[in-house]
């Protein structure tokens, strides 16, 4: 039995973040009002996505150094779950923007950057789907994976900070610096981030194990045939 303590930790942290996120005191601010609590759920999606994409890229590099089925599987499944987190991040962001910025899609640099980054990763799956040879598919997509991660960093972290953006933590808008200073919010926010990252890794690990099991079954079937 593999060690499961981090799965339990994930559940505890997330239950705590749901209770604390809805019940604990938050700064009383105009415009955002109670929606400030969305920070506990919307932002961890992006943290989770970045960590999962980073893991995906690490396994892509590992594959290029040591081409085997396992490294490729790890790389794909981390990217898969990372994409889900990214989509959840963008949809929750749209709901939040609708009530605080006035419309779901504001053409804000942070929003556009995030959307382009997700499209870059969608292209990764299209690339995988369009190559039939397994080794070629794994190698090409590993190279593209590195490119996708390198493209995502400026799109999400650098460009929005260089232009004016309404998104907190971006150019000319200290926004959440004020909230970040609130130590009460940190007490819920950081556990939520860790909890969601662990949950993402958990889901990815299940998909990886299923794929590896499937591959073993196919192998044994081929041997018997």
């Amino acid at each position: 039995m593999k060690s499961n303590w981090w799965k339990i930790l994930s559940i505890i942290l997330l239950v705590y973040s749901i209770i604390g996120g809805l019940l604990f005191a938050v700064p009383r601010l105009n415009i955002v009002n109670e929606t400030i609590r969305a920070l506990y759920f919307h932002v961890p999606m992006w943290f989770g996505m970045v960590v999962l994409f980073l893991a995906s890229t690490i396994y892509a590099i590992k594959y290029l150094r040591n081409p085997n089925f396992q490294n490729d599987t790890y790389s794909v499944e981390f990217a898969n779950v990372g994409l889900v987190f990214g989509l959840l991040g963008i949809f929750t962001g749209m709901i939040w923007a609708n009530y605080t910025w006035g419309s779901p899609w504001h053409g804000d640099p942070k929003q556009n950057g995030a959307a382009i980054a997700l499209l870059v990763y969608l292209a990764y799956f299209i690339l995988r789907g369009s190559v039939n040879n397994e080794e070629q598919r794994a190698r090409l997509s590993a190279v593209y994976n590195i490119f996708a991660f390198v493209a995502m960093v400026p799109l999400i972290f650098i460009i929005p900070r260089m232009t004016s953006s309404m998104h907190p933590g971006s150019g000319g808008n200290p926004g959440f610096n004020m909230y970040d200073l609130d130590s009460k919010m940190r007490m819920v926010f950081y556990p939520a981030v860790i909890g969601w990252i662990l949950l993402g890794v958990w889901i990815a690990s299940l998909r990886i194990r299923m794929r590896i099991a499937e591959e073993k079954i196919i192998e044994s079937e081929n041997e018997n045939a």
């Binding site: 799965k7 749901i18 009002n33 109670e34 194990r209």
Partner: protein, 71 residues
């Protein structure tokens, strides 16, 4: 020492100022005082834990299948 105090005062002023300015922000105080917020928390927790239970069940199933795999 003197400049130190100045910055401290400025910091305190900014803190109090922002706190005062935000005092009138509309929050869901009624929902909280009536205790109905707990209903929302309970519902979200039930859904979340239900999905987690499904995840744990799937995890166990995968573990069982792995044991039966050809070596």
């Amino acid at each position: 020492m003197k400049t130190h105090n100045k910055y401290l005062l400025l910091g305190l002023f900014l803190l109090i100022n922002s706190a005062l300015a935000a005092q009138d922000a509309e929050m869901a105080d009624t929902l909280r005082s009536e205790g109905k917020i707990f209903v929302v928390v309970a519902i979200i927790l039930v859904i979340f834990l239900g999905l987690i239970a499904l995840l744990i069940y799937t995890d166990r199933k995968v573990s069982r299948l792995e044991k039966r795999l050809p070596k």
